[in-house]
């Protein structure tokens, strides 16, 4: 997707540092929210539509969403190099951190304040997830069936705790067939 005001594509090291920074500063989930902010809203390297397409596919395919999304974004921006950078940048630095944390944890857990601080961080981080959900919901085609599918997916996963695999498979099939029959307006 080329827009006249699109800035030049990022360099490899620039891309790597962005993924690394996002991976290391995201607590309590919601990494996709950070990716959206960084790549679409702030740097405008992708359109929101392109991003949401990638996100839908990343979620429908097996694999950790944010890793799928990093590979998708990396591939879109810099081809196979970008895909490798996305994978390494989003996985390796936090993998090192979790090992260090695991080793250091016994000494940290003595302080009750640690838990309080982490709760505060997690609460603010949920906002990223919710703002992302609202952005995604706004992009849903405005018709009764699409909205019912969105609501149904929410209820099945959040309230009924049905297995994700079957929910995605069923809702995805109905929704994609509906989009296919309806045509592309």
């Amino acid at each position: 997707m080329s827009k006249p005001e699109t800035p030049p594509t990022p360099s490899c090291s620039q891309l790597f540092w962005i993924f690394t920074r996002i991976a290391l500063t995201s607590f309590g989930g919601g990494l996709s929210g950070w990716l959206l902010r960084e790549f679409v809203q702030n740097r405008k390297w992708m359109t929101q539509e392109e991003f949401l397409n990638g996100l839908s596919i990343s979620q429908a395919l097996p694999g950790v969403n944010v890793k799928n999304m990093a590979v998708w974004i990396g591939y879109r921006l810099l081809g196979w190099r970008g895909a490798i950078i996305g994978f390494v940048g989003i996985i390796v630095p936090p993998a090192v951190v979790i090992v260090l944390l695991g080793t250091a944890f016994s000494s940290l857990s003595r302080y009750p304040l640690t838990h309080v601080a982490l709760t505060g961080a997690a609460a603010a981080a949920v906002g990223l997830s919710l703002s992302m959900g609202i952005t995604a919901a706004r992009a849903v085609p405005r018709n009764a069936i699409s909205i019912t599918i969105m609501a149904g997916t929410f209820v099945a996963v959040a309230i009924l705790h049905w297995p994700l695999f079957w929910v995605v498979l069923a809702a995805g099939c109905v929704s994609v067939s509906h989009a296919y029959v309806r045509g592309n307006r």
């Binding site: 989930g29 929210g33 996100l55 979620q59 097996p62 799928n68 979790i98 695991g102 505060g120 959040a158």
Partner: protein, 183 residues
């Protein structure tokens, strides 16, 4: 650092986590119960208490929650255990998304592709909202945590503030209130 771990152990780590990689649809959460069963009951690599500790750490650490598996690999078989477990849980699905991204980039506006994009959108939106709902339920800190979450949502939707600042604010508010209630 441990010395050379047994190759057989590394192979079992691979054999346990690589298939699990393929059932992690919609994020790693769906696989946690099964990881617990394999690691504690089937292979007895860890006690249940050790597993719960590792899980708690993975929730507090930055990055994808599935890095729990990296920590398990590390605790079970040292450096190479961590490497093998990480590649096993993240590797197979990486090839899959790569292949799809590659095919996707090839041709433009095919009808089936547009349908897939449009059709998956409501499902993705429903799943993100569901994940948010589950996070909101799971978080400690009661109404204050929820108020903080909604306030941060509003700020993110209407401003371009750096999310790190928001998270810092979250920490400051919680630590501040904790200090007051102690005083």
């Amino acid at each position: 650092m441990s010395e050379h771990p047994h190759t057989g152990l590394l192979l079992s780590l691979l054999a346990v986590f690589a298939p699990l990689s393929l059932v992690t649809i919609g994020g790693g959460q769906s696989a946690i119960a099964d990881i617990n069963r394999q690691v504690v009951d089937v292979h007895q690599w860890m006690s249940q208490a050790q597993f719960v500790d590792a899980f708690a750490i993975s929730r507090m650490a930055p990055g994808p929650g599935s890095l729990l598996v990296t920590l398990i690999g590390w605790q079970v078989a040292g450096f190479w255990g961590a490497v093998v477990a990480t590649l096993a849980i993240f590797g197979p699905t990486t090839f899959l998304i790569y292949a799809v991204a590659h095919v996707w980039a090839r041709d433009g506006g095919a009808h089936w592709k547009r349908s897939l994009e449009r059709g998956l959108r409501p499902v993705a939106a429903g799943m993100i909202l569901a994940a948010t709902y589950v996070l909101l339920q799971a978080i400690d800190g009661g109404w204050l945590a929820r108020a903080m979450a909604f306030a941060s949502t509003a700020v993110l939707l209407f401003t371009k503030v750096n999310p790190l600042l928001l998270i810092g604010a979250g920490v400051a508010v919680f630590v501040g209130l904790h200090a007051i209630s102690l005083a």
